[in-house]
């Protein structure tokens, strides 16, 4: 049997997952120098694309839709929205 990524209580096919990263036009990029690890980006990210690594926070790009809430809400202005280039 194929190993599943997520265990679900019902449903043969496992999890309904959409590749929402393909929607992204602007990519949030965090400036680690300016970041004060307050975690506001994690609290406000609708997609849960901000991961907590120890005491630090990191943006993951697997499902980020590029809405820009994190960049708008960051009090230190540590997140910039950069236009996606190339493939993806």
């Amino acid at each position: 049997m194929e190993k599943r990524l997520h265990i679900t209580p019902i449903g043969d096919e496992g999890m309904y997952i959409l590749d929402t990263a393909s929607w992204r036009v602007y990519r949030p990029v965090m400036d680690k120098e300016k970041c004060i690890d307050c975690g506001m980006c994690l609290a406000f990210c609708p997609v849960n694309a901000v991961a907590a690594v120890g005491k630090k926070f990191e943006i993951t790009y697997d499902y980020c839709k590029g809405c820009g809430i994190c960049a708008n809400e960051c009090k230190k202005g540590a997140i910039a929205m950069v236009l996606e280039g190339g493939s993806r």
């Binding site: 679900t8 496992g14 999890m15 309904y16 975690g39 609290a43 406000f44 809405c67 820009g68 809430i69």
Partner: protein
């Protein structure tokens, strides 16, 4: 433990990729509520944005990592009543029963079953994400839509200029049902929101808990997605959406604005309000002030 730590350590119970719009307030609310509720939960989500975005599953695939069901638009609360009573009878009262519904399934279509369940004080937590309209089908007006809003059923034209009626203020109506816990929350005030979900879950073991959450909608309201939290914050700051709660000790005002901004500042940059006349703005301001005054009086009564 601060709310950031709670959110950081909790496991996300929702599928990582769901088709809610960019900057969706409803998605943020759904994820936050289920993060706090945890694995031991059964969820009922009626037709609406969250169901449409694939949270109830698609083609035999599941949209949540926990059991989720899709009741009809008008029977979420009665559906959960059955579940809640059966689990109680089986001796499994510790399971969280959560309904997550939009304002259409709460204030309009679902109101009779919701009102009845609240009056019977059934053990569940009912979360309403209020995006002020039927967004899933292209923004038709609902009873919680603010006056003057441009919707697909109240367009701007020669005959009418947006919605003609004032908004129905549901949380206060719900609080009069004799339920266990009733509160309003906004995703912009996350600490307050997390606290209220925790309180609501605790109260749902004793009786009915109702949470009315402001959910800004970039697609329907016509503003750019990154402004979502800003719009929600301005709604609280302008007293358009005051944050209060009602528990066994009575009413409490959670956020007191020392210098509230005007409705005019709140509607700035929101596309659905751009047609508003001075007269419309004044009447919305008047209703907001009136509502806030009533709530303040209720909260002060509890202090004595």
């Amino acid at each position: 433990m601060s709310y950031i730590d709670i959110l950081k350590e909790a496991e996300d119970q929702v599928t990582p990729g769901m088709s809610a719009c960019q900057g969706c307030g409803g998605e943020l609310i759904l994820r936050t509520v289920l993060k706090i509720a945890g694995k031991n939960t059964i969820v009922g989500i009626p037709p609406g944005c969250m169901a449409g975005a694939g949270v109830v599953g698609w083609n035999y695939a599941n949209g949540l990592k926990i059991p989720v069901h899709i009741p009809l638009l008008d029977n979420t609360a009665s559906f959960l009543t059955g579940l809640s009573q059966m689990y109680e009878r089986k001796g499994r009262g510790e399971v969280n029963m959560i309904g997550i519904a939009g304002d259409g399934a709460t204030a309009d279509c679902g109101f009779q079953s919701l009102s009845a369940a609240a009056e019977r004080n059934e053990k569940m937590l009912y979360v309403c994400y209020d995006n002020e309209g039927y967004m899933n089908t292209g923004y038709q007006r609902s009873s919680t839509t603010t006056k003057g809003s441009r919707t697909s059923t109240t367009p701007i034209g020669a005959v009418i200029n947006g919605k003609q009626q004032q908004q129905k203020y549901l949380p206060l109506i719900m609080s009069m049902h004799g339920l266990t816990y009733c509160a309003t929350a906004s995703p912009s005030h996350m600490a307050d929101f997390v606290k209220k979900v925790e309180k609501g879950l605790a109260a749902s073991k004793k009786g009915f808990a109702y949470l009315h959450v402001f959910s800004p909608c970039p697609t329907g309201w016509a503003y750019s997605p990154e402004k979502a939290i800003e719009v929600a914050r301005n709604a609280v700051r302008s007293n358009m959406f005051p944050l209060w709660e009602m528990d066994e000790d009575g009413y409490h005002m959670n956020v007191r604005n020392k210098t509230p901004i005007s409705v005019k500042e709140f509607i700035q940059g929101i596309g659905k309000f751009k047609n508003l006349t001075e007269e419309d703005i004044n009447s919305i301001q008047q209703i907001a002030d009136q509502r806030f005054h009533i709530l303040m009086r209720l909260a002060e009564q509890g202090m004595e």
